[in-house]
């Protein structure tokens, strides 16, 4: 067999494989829930993992791929959370009363995301005038302003918070939203737009000179990032049932940023793994809760010193590539005798 004829999976097959894998994970989750192995406590953790994956991957778009320091992600999350919660709560009054719960859930998430993305554009437009560190501060400022305003508005329940939000989030729907989010973000990054976003990160001036409108792509990436933060907020609101603006402060933004940085700036795989890991770890180590943040922060500094791009860097896991690799190595072992002979011949 010729060495050049390596086993390769075509595009349609690769889609089928990925869809199959997504369905398989869902089936496993479903059977574990119906089998009683995943009780309501674990279901809650699964929901939070989904929320954190959406938050981390969406922030990664702004921080990792666009290369702008954004410290106001929790602000967008809160905007989405309140918008989605208010829509779900007043569904009957708005004429959505007759809708089934699942579609109401999705509609409220999209609404929350859209409102958050409007705020993302509002923050993104000043961003076109400012660079790096200033953007960090301006996003931080916006996050805090949003929090203070929410605390002082009547419709959001003020400082007392918003309660009796319908709890519409279920493991199934959150799984769907999480998967769709990751797929959309991944597709954006692989598209022309994604390459333009990354070129702005790598060298803004060079990108400009090649005709890439850096401002447009900055605002676009910001708006998309904010959209999914809003979606995550919407899920959070409809999972917890009570909202208070205090939850979405500067520390929440930092927490999401830590997840992104730990996983790798520029790796969705890294964000997903870090989100799963950092959600489970505190639950598993409840008795060490007070040491947790000390260890987190020390780990953050150490990772930055020794591996500034995060644990996975820009590596993306691909199931198709893994299968190709396994098949090829099996083939390679099978043909090892003839293969190595040919190699020596060639030399």
């Amino acid at each position: 067999m010729d060495k050049n004829k390596l086993f390769k999976i075509g595009k349609p097959a690769s889609y089928i494989i990925n869809v199959a894998a997504i369905l398989l994970v869902w089936l496993i989750m479903q059977s574990l829930i119906s089998g009683g192995l995943i009780n309501s406590y674990y279901q809650g953790i699964l929901l939070v993992i989904g929320i954190n994956i959406i938050l981390a991957t969406s922030l990664n778009l702004a921080v990792g791929f666009l290369g702008e320091m954004a410290l106001g992600h929790a602000g967008f999350m809160s905007v989405g959370a309140y918008s989605a919660a208010l829509l779900a709560k007043n569904a009957a009054a708005l004429g959505f009363g007759g809708l089934p719960k699942t579609s109401l859930f999705f509609i409220s998430l999209i609404f929350g995301g859209l409102v958050a993305s409007i705020f993302g554009i509002l923050v993104g437009i000043p961003a076109l005038r400012l660079h790096g560190d200033y953007l960090a501060i301006i996003t931080l400022g916006f996050g805090e302003i949003i929090r203070v305003i929410i605390e002082n508005m009547k419709i959001t329940g003020g400082a007392r918070g918003l309660n009796r939000i319908p709890k519409l989030a279920t493991p199934n729907t959150v799984y769907i939203v999480t998967v769709v989010t990751v797929i959309i973000l991944y597709m954006i990054i692989r598209s022309r737009h994604g390459r333009a976003i990354m070129s702005v990160r790598d060298d803004e001036i060079a990108a400009e000179s090649l005709g890439i409108p850096s401002t447009y792509f900055k605002v676009l990436a910001f708006a998309i990032s904010a959209f999914f933060a809003g979606v995550a907020g919407g899920i959070y609101a409809q999972y917890i049932g009570i909202l208070g603006a205090k939850v979405f402060d500067y520390n929440k933004s930092i927490e999401i940023l830590v997840t992104v940085v730990l996983g790798g700036m520029g790796s969705f795989t890294g964000s997903i793994l870090a989100a799963i890991f950092l959600t489970i770890l505190p639950e598993a180590l409840r008795e060490f809760a007070s040491y947790r943040m000390v260890l987190y922060s020390a780990a953050l500094v150490i990772i930055m010193i020794f591996k500034p791009t995060g644990l996975l860097g820009t590596y993306e896991f691909s199931l198709t590539r893994l299968i190709e690799k396994i098949v090829n190595s099996v083939k390679h072992n099978k043909d090892n005798g003839t293969q190595s002979k040919k190699e020596t011949d060639r030399k």
Binding site: I145, V148, V294, S297
Partner: protein, 294 residues
Amino acid sequence: MGFIKQLLNGLQLGSIYALIAIGYTMVYGIVQLINFAHGDIIMVGGYICIMLIPILAQFGIPAWISVFGAVVLCAILGVLIEIVAYKPLRNSPRMSALITAIGVSLFLENLFMLLFSPDPRNVPQMFNVTMPSIGGFNLSFPTLITIIVSVLIMIGLQVFIKKTKIGKAMRAVSEDTDTARLMGVNVNATISITFAIGSGLAAVATVLYASAYPQIDPLMGSFIGIKAFIAAVLGGIGLIPGAMVGGIVLGVAESLAKAYISSQLADAVVYGILIIVLLVKPSGILGKNRSEKV
């Protein structure tokens, strides 16, 4: 009368912000890094004071003497943070350095929460002086001393930066690190001195802050620090006079917003001012617009 009182309160708060903002601005000017841990040095200074004051009291020494201990220990802490966390990252991307600074800030906050519990602690009275009231107007001693000390420090610092050899070295390094090194400036030592001065000023600010608001907790540094940083950006980052102007503007604005708008919305007003100034003049009130080098 009420307005003048609010204005004085604003000046007091503004002077404290200005002292802290100087630390941010000096570090930013020299290594281009937002030292997020700077705010937490204020908090550490507060805890140092709390521990020193009872010891001093045993010897009958007034509480404000603790400022000297706080200045020395905070300066050492500042230099230590620079050497351990920032020095290895001096040539890496800005983002990594910024995240490291956030990491150091989180580390200090959580370490002190672990050591001293998250509950706020009361600080003993710093100054035992009652001021005579002039014409029914009562100026508090902490307000007066804060404004005087800040003005003296800022004048001293300006002279130090303009006239001394170390000050010249600092200006040279912030202008162009590599050229300064070629001219025989010890860059590492200069950066360390910058961190030491900034952290020492933060410790002075702690004592002045504690004389007005006698309560400290492990998270106090993050919100005072962010406001002081905003003050530095507002005035024009990298400029010491800018930090002073920004600090005073911010302090007065916050104080007046608290008095005449709403105490809850004061923070929103502060951030709003920042955003407006940055949109109109991205380099800050006193900053010069620099064209970008390709």
